[in-house]
Amino acid sequence: MAVSAVHLESDAFLVCMNHALSTEKEEVMGLCIGEVDTNRIVHIHSVIILRRSDKRKDRVEISPEQLSAASTEAEISFNFTHRLAEMTGRPVRVVGWYHSHPHITVWPSHVDVRTQAMYQMMDQGFVGLIFSCFIEDKNTKTGRVLYTCFQSVQAQKGSEYERIEIPIHVVPHEAIGKVCLESAVELPRILCQEEQDTYRRIHSLTHLDPITKIHNGSVFTKNLCSQMSAVSGPLLQWLEDRLEQNKQSIVELQKEKERLIQELASL
């Protein structure tokens, strides 16, 4: 049976958006963590950024077997690190996946629909989210970001699949959860690891001469500098701004709390 709706907490949404907006040149993806309630509503309260071993600019999906392995690993790692199941008293698991569509329409492609259908064979409550970004209307000078939620069903004719729309609501969550914060800062680490792996693979080729190696070293330096400039730097800036904002909030909230304590005492 199809899922009735998806409730995505706003701090999890923030991590997805940051990830999707990190690059306009290739699709990125991740897993959604949460639970499904008795009303068939999927509650997503955090996400895990996935590292892609086989990067292609125009494709992002991974095979169901890879997804299953990634999900198991994610759940084990997730529950071990965060003990979320203990804290909430509810089982948490991978309930969906998200990926980005930079410069292209938000609607899932036929490949996305087929991939989603395969995931649903393992878990019929599995949902797909797509974030479309870097859309620009040159006439009106307007930028656009869209996001959608879908599942797949067997088409009436033929053996193909078609998408069904799933309502998605972003649920307010003013304070950013620990899990979401840690997922957010995982992005530059993942990017760095991907770059280091690529460099090591190439650097290990034995037939390269010193000039080629020096060149490749420069490419590695250039790419790491791009990451620091475009991702790590702005992320660090955002963390510092958030800390500053929270400090001000704490001062105001403490004053409010003291005022209320006095009011209660006077009654």
């Binding site: 706003s10 930028g143 729309e165 998605i168 304070a175 690529t198 958030r242």
Partner: protein, 388 residues
């Protein structure tokens, strides 16, 4: 020939943060933008022109300052509160305030008249003349609520009107791993030559590891560690904010409960405020003076001004008339004496006239009049009202 071009840039994290702020609020949100403005002049030579100059103006938005509520730094007449602006920007150099923003749901990407006025007034106040206004408008794309959209544009005053400027989102772009060379050049002499052998050690720390790669990796690792520390501090502050908000909610509930409890106590001790308080002394005095006129002992009248007999007070208040109301007692005694002497005189008159004035007045009253009321009318017309 001159060409002017303006670009507005912000990072994906700033855009994400703006979206996050609005998603957690029911209403519109506003705030100020902090960043820097960079101007560049480029000469461009083409086949047709040798003096083509391009003036490039790039506005980089580094962060946004959230306002707790809308209309916080301006009033209904769109006049800017300078004091409030200074308070908001107290941690920043005012020159770095390069604009402001507003987010409103389900509306068009057009500046309203109010926003235009606020912008003009801000331009007069803030030092940065080329102030920008960013408008973000989220909306639903499908009726099912499965797809949502956010549109965003920057507006800038160009002297005669507002023009819109496309916002460029800074990102990683192409991390082109195709830049790596997988094969060496086909020049064996290059590898064997003395120049390369002599200078090779400046680049390689060991036989194979490049110094440059080690240095940039170390710097990146240090940056990631610093980010982890910043993340831990933010996490602690988030939990503290959450706890304080929870404490405030609890306190407000406790205050509300306490106030309700007190209100309930007050209402049980005294009569309800809607009911008028009974003047028991007056009631007792009226009963003593006019024992046959219960309608005088009511506080409730109809719309036409007649007393409502059903709510007349009939209870004995236990007032000791001689001690509490001695004047009433004196008056009552006087009344009795006057009545006795009047009765004697009327008996004498009736013997002469045959029909009393009282009986004529009786016939003039309505047929439906209650006998009790008739007696009351008689009593009142005997000038029995006390004189104060």
């Amino acid at each position: 020939m001159e060409e002017y071009s303006t670009t507005v840039r912000l990072s994906g994290f700033v855009l994400g943060s703006l979206m996050f702020q609005h998603l957690n609020t029911d209403s519109d949100v506003e705030g100020l933008l902090v960043g820097e403005s960079v101007r560049e002049e480029k000469s461009k030579i083409t086949d047709s022109q040798t003096d083509h100059i391009q003036f490039l103006h790039t506005i980089n938005i580094q962060k946004h300052i959230t306002c707790r509520r809308i209309h916080s730094f301006y009033n209904n007449a769109c006049e800017i509160d300078e004091e409030k602006i200074r308070e908001i920007t107290s941690n920043f150099n005012e020159e770095n305030v390069i604009g402001w923003y507003r987010q409103r749901r389900n509306t068009t990407q057009q500046m309203t008249l109010k926003e235009q006025l606020v912008h003009q007034n801000l331009r007069r106040l803030l030092p940065h003349q080329e102030l920008i206004f960013i408008l973000l408008t989220p909306s639903d794309t499908t009726s099912s609520g499965s797809t949502h959209r956010l549109e965003y544009t920057a507006f800038i005053w160009n002297g005669s009107q507002y023009s819109s400027v496309l916002i460029s989102i800074g990102n990683l772009g192409m991390l082109d791993q195709q830049d790596y060379w997988r094969f060496s050049t086909t020049c064996p002499s290059l590898s064997r030559c003395q120049a390369v052998k002599k200078h090779k050690t400046k680049f390689f720390s060991t036989e194979d590891d490049l110094r440059e790669v080690e240095k940039v990796s170390n710097m990146n690792d240090a940056l990631l560690d610093e980010m982890k520390t910043a993340c831990e501090k933010v996490e602690k502050s988030e939990r503290l904010v959450e706890k304080l908000q929870a404490d405030i909610t609890e306190l407000k509930e406790a205050i509300s409960k306490q106030k309700k409890k007190q209100q309930q106590c007050n209402t049980t001790e005294t009569s309800t405020p809607n009911e008028p308080k009974e003047n028991v002394l007056l009631c007792a005095a009226l009963k003593a003076l006019f024992p046959n006129s219960p309608s005088l002992r009511t506080q409730t009248l109809t719309v036409q001004g007649f007393p409502v007999l059903e709510v007349c007070c009939s209870s004995e208040h236990g007032i000791d008339i001689p001690s509490r109301l001695p004047l009433v007692l004196e008056y009552e005694q006087g009344l009795r004496k006057r009545k006795t002497s009047r009765d004697c005189r009327s008996q004498e008159k009736s013997q002469v006239a045959g029909t009393s004035l009282r009986r004529k007045r009786k016939r003039n009253t309505t047929d439906t009049q209650d006998p009790v009321e008739e007696e009351e009318v008689d009593n009142l017309q005997d000038s029995n009202s006390p004189v104060f």
